[in-house]
């Protein structure tokens, strides 16, 4: 753990990429393959299931630190990070030093002033060290893998008392950074400022292997349902066989994909290698306006234009009669979608498709809103009812492997032809993402305005002559997202909460409300605001009758630091009440909120849930009574534009 802890500190404090790579390489040179496997897993974004609930950790930390809940919360507010707060409030071994020093000083100075029995009276104001604190000075440093596999993962199956006992002893064994990391790892919130790409680059330099090859071998490595192993790590950094040249050139002569990509794959478990997906090619937001399309993109005929679906991006891998479904986050989701697995039966082996998983009800003209898919993902067991309520389809838009050949260097239009052939040749229920034709960009723009009604998010533009790239690189061509503008609504700030990290000292997380119905006039709205400020309850009656502000969204991004500072000051001045970290605020600010989607929701008082809400601007020009109402939101549900 000490070595990983040092690596974390080095990564955390450096901002220069070169320093980070150097630190990673030093770590890889020192660490055992088992430890390096776990370190790579975490640094590349792997998140194991939460081992212990954070609420449990909080309570335990308070007990060990002997501080009341309110004081812990004050500390959390100041620090802005839960694991760090826990790590810092726990008594340290030097506390004993400073306490005993104070004792010593006191004994010396007070000897002539204070009766002796008072000196013997230990501090009751300060928490004492946990038992065994001093004896633990000689610590045995277990490696990261041992920490995770032998100590942390087993915590999950213990009862709370046993678990508490062990966590206490672990905390006691570690220094502050170690405690912080441990708490992050068991609470499931580990994050450090390195990208997966940077980890891959460091591994590549460490092992002397092409970074692209490392990226391929790492596909699926951070899948949260399984644990990384030393063998897998060794497979990732294994030297490239000199007889193995580029996979694409071999694919021309029909060499087996498995043989060409991974000559020594017999070393590791076959299921892991066989099921591997390819690194996803990710799209970019188009950075220029319609008027510039001709100049920047050329004519639409250079592009394959498809709808941008609002589902879950996935690769379907079929090899050796087995099907694997991978998310863009490289999570294996095969079990979540039995329909898609079954429909893959008709397809040949040695095939990988790229596309979107959507909920699409039989006979419906368009896919169901994303919220339905999200609900299904949230279900622990897939009952018949769930399957019937939210049936999924796979909308294929690319083919990355066919007849065991890697097709990624084939250009888009060639891959498209293969994809179309594949789907028509084999009787599958997979859908083919249609190509949208348009003479001019303006024609496509007209079509794009139908996106919302069609249940899609706009267009995807893929150059006909571009290969399938890796991640966000643009070297192999670019996929552009040409999304519809967000929906917007003018709403009122009613609650605020402090941000985290850099913004821990500012109120930056806001809850917004709309009027339950349009106010008759400014005076009626003002009456409601005064009632809120005076703490008067809302009168009985239906929301459509009794005017009130109904919360419907939370947002914490979109403003500049300057704007946040300004809003923060207004919040502090207009605070009505504090509930823990939350302040209720006298309504005085109108915001324009943008969001990507809107759905009915039984869990929210407003009956509505919006997706990806963010603040577009502060509407100082807008009087509060002119903020939008619930019925405006409802009309958006129906796809109408209120602007």
């Amino acid at each position: 753990m000490k070595r990983f802890s040092l690596l974390f500190q080095e990564l955390d404090r450096s901002t220069a990429t070169l320093d980070k790579v150097a630190a990673l390489k030093r770590y890889y040179a020192d660490a055992s393959p088992a430890d390096a496997a776990w370190a790579t897993y975490f640094l590349a974004g792997g998140k194991p299931r939460q081992v212990v609930k954070t609420a449990e950790l909080r309570v335990l930390a308070r007990e060990v630190a002997q501080i009341p809940e309110w004081l812990f919360e004050e500390a959390y507010q100041a620090v802005g990070d839960l694991a760090e707060t826990i790590a810092l409030v726990l008594p340290t071994h030097s506390d004993a030093g400073s306490l005993s020093l104070a004792e010593r000083v006191r004994e010396r100075v007070l000897a002539d002033q204070v009766p002796a029995e008072d000196c013997a009276n230990r501090d009751t104001l300060s928490p004492t060290l946990p038992p065994g604190g001093r004896e633990q000075q000689v610590r045995i440093d277990a490696g990261l893998a041992e920490w995770i596999e032998q100590r942390l993962l087993p915590l999950k199956s213990l009862d709370e008392t046993e678990r508490a006992k062990l966590i206490r002893s672990y905390w006691n064994e570690l220094d502050t950074t170690g405690r912080f990391l441990l708490t992050k790892l068991i609470g499931g919130g580990f994050r450090v400022g390195v990208s997966k790409l940077l980890v891959q680059r460091s591994l590549a330099e460490h092992a002397g292997v092409d970074p692209k090859r490392i990226a391929e071998r790492m596909m699926g490595f951070t899948d949260g349902t399984r644990s990384p192993t030393a063998n897998e790590f060794l497979r990732i950094i294994r030297a490239e066989n000199s007889s193995t040249t580029n996979a694409n050139s071999e694919s021309e002569n029909g060499a087996s994909i498995d043989a060409s990509r991974e000559p020594n794959e017999a070393l590791s478990e076959p299921t892991e290698v066989n099921g591997q997906p390819y690194p996803f090619f990710l799209a970019h937001q188009i950075p220029f306006a319609l008027a510039a399309f001709d100049e920047k993109l050329g004519p639409p005929s250079d592009w394959i234009v498809e709808w941008k679906y609002d589902g879950i991006r996935a690769q379907i891998v079929k090899r050796s009669d087995r099907v694997f479904i991978w998310s863009r986050g490289e999570e294996l989701m095969t079990d979540r979608f039995p329909e898609i697995v079954e429909q893959a039966n008709a397809l040949p082996n040695g095939m990988v498709l790229d596309g979107e998983i959507l909920v699409w009800k039989e006979g419906a003209a368009q896919p169901a809103p994303f919220a339905l898919l999200q609900q299904r993902i949230g279900r622990k067991t897939l009952t018949k009812k769930v399957l019937a309520d939210a049936p999924v389809v796979f909308m294929a838009y690319d083919v990355l492997e066919n007849e065991q050949r890697d097709l990624r260097q084939f250009v888009q239009r060639e891959r498209r032809v293969i994809l179309e052939k594949l789907l028509s040749q084999f009787a599958t229920k997979y859908l083919l993402s249609p190509n949208i034709a348009g003479q001019a960009w303006q024609d496509l723009e007209t079509l794009r305005s139908e996106s919302r009604v069609r249940g899609v998010e706009g267009f995807m533009l893929k150059h006909r002559d571009a290969a399938y790239g890796t991640g966000r690189t643009k070297a192999d061509g670019t996929w552009w997202k040409w999304k519809i503008d967000p929906m917007t609504i003018d709403c009122v700030l009613i609650y605020a909460q402090a941000g985290h990290g850099r913004r821990a000292s500012l109120y930056t997380d806001y809850t917004f409300a709309v009027w339950s119905r349009a106010p008759r006039d400014a005076a009626e709205a003002q009456q409601v605001i005064d009632n809120i400020a005076d703490g008067k309850p809302v009168p009985e009656g239906a929301m459509t009758d009794v005017l009130q502000l109904v919360p419907f969204a939370k947002a914490y991004s979109g403003l500049t630091d300057e704007e946040f500072k300004r809003v923060d000051a207004i919040i502090r001045k207009n605070t009505i009440n504090k509930f823990g970290p939350v302040r209720s605020v006298k309504p005085s600010l109108v915001f324009e909120l943008g969001f990507e989607g809107i759905n009915e929701s039984t869990r929210h008082k407003s009956g509505i849930a919006v997706r990806f809400p963010r603040m577009l601007r502060i509407r100082d020009d807008k009087p509060i009574h002119e903020a939008n109402s619930l019925s405006d939101l409802r009309s958006m549900l129906l796809g109408e534009n209120i602007a």
Partner: protein
């Protein structure tokens, strides 16, 4: 309590009516008792000053050579309008003192800034028994727990040696008065030369004049061998580390030594390469043990996190309150001299 409080808060600062004097006032008064020579405690414009004898040099340099200053040794007491006043070590910086005020059988102590951790450059904190203790609370949250300074010095020395081996200067930003000298006392000067900024130098001289042993230091203008720059540890105030003055130390690794470096967010926000947690204020356990050691039944909290500390002490069974400073609720966010 039948009589009025011995020390109260006035617009000018802490005021003892019985003796008609102020402690660390922030507006000009006729008689000021100064706990220590940090700028926010020792201000100009008072008619008469009283301070510890070892504060004299720095007070005269900072405020004016001709101020009307009377000095006391630790433990020595004088009478001001029949109120007994004495100064006691606060362990904060050279000459820092707690002010003990005794009148009609009541004893109040105003702590000024203090720390209980050891510091080779000043006399250690000594708790003084009192009825009411006015305590600072700059780091009055349980997340502030300092490590032994020997560990921090070892970290600084290791960092310095690594930089020297990589042939780059080591620049450590810290407050010029107190922190800089404390760090100097912990440096391993066998690693290389020590260069100090012009703001630090006069304070070093004041410390040496007061009998505190510090390693040899140079101003950058006194460096004759250019190769020394890349082997050196450079001590400077935080403002200088980002100024053009710092440009001559190309590729320097820049660190900051302060209690605030305890928080990851603060470390990352400052943009320093390294943050060292070293404070001249008491940490949470230090505050608790110091308060306990005074045996005071009443505690008045000043100087940051007043509300938290007041509530905590009240829950511990003490009578606790706070003096609001002119900085207001968010004073804890500003850096003040809080190092």
């Amino acid at each position: 309590m039948t009589t009025t409080d011995l020390i109260v808060l006035r617009a000018e600062g802490l005021y003892c009516a019985a003796g008609d004097f102020f402690i660390d006032p922030w507006r000009p008064v006729s008689r000021a008792v100064i706990t220590h020579a940090h700028a926010d405690h020792a201000r100009s414009g008072h008619s008469r000053y009283l301070a510890h004898v070892k504060s004299e040099g720095i007070l005269r340099t900072r405020i004016g050579a001709d101020i009307a200053l009377q000095t006391l040794e630790y433990g020595e007491s004088i009478s001001i309008n029949n109120v007994n006043v004495s100064l006691h070590p606060a362990g904060h910086v050279l000459g820092s003192a707690q002010v003990r005020v005794e009148n009609e059988g009541r004893v109040w102590v105003a702590s000024g800034d203090y720390k209980v951790a050891p510091d080779a450059t000043c006399v250690p904190f000594e708790p003084v028994r009192c009825d009411t203790f006015i305590t600072e609370s700059t780091f009055g949250l349980p997340v502030y727990r300092w490590r032994d300074d020997a560990e921090v010095f070892a970290e600084i020395n290791t960092w310095w040696a690594e930089n020297r081996d990589a042939n780059r200067p080591t620049m450590l930003a810290c407050y010029s008065f107190g922190k800089a000298q404390r760090i100097l006392s912990g440096l391993d000067s066998s690693i290389g030369p020590v260069i100090v900024h012009g703001a630090v130098d006069p304070l070093n001289r004041a410390y040496r004049a007061a009998g505190v042993a510090l390693p040899e230091t140079k101003l950058v203008s006194e460096v004759t061998d250019k190769a020394d720059i890349n082997r050196a540890l450079v001590l400077c105030p935080p403002s200088a580390s980002a100024s053009t003055w710092a440009n001559r130390f190309k590729n320097a690794s820049v660190g900051f030594a302060s209690g605030w470096m305890q928080l990851r967010g603060r470390r990352r926000m400052g943009g320093y390469d390294r943050g060292f947690v070293l404070s001249d204020h008491a940490d949470w356990p230090g505050l608790q043990s110091a308060i306990k050691a005074t045996h005071a039944s009443r505690v008045i909290v000043t100087h940051g996190y007043e509300a938290v500390m007041t509530r905590w002490l009240t829950e511990q069974g003490l009578e606790a309150g706070s003096f609001k400073t002119e900085y207001g609720d968010d004073a804890k966010e500003s850096t003040h001299d809080a190092s």
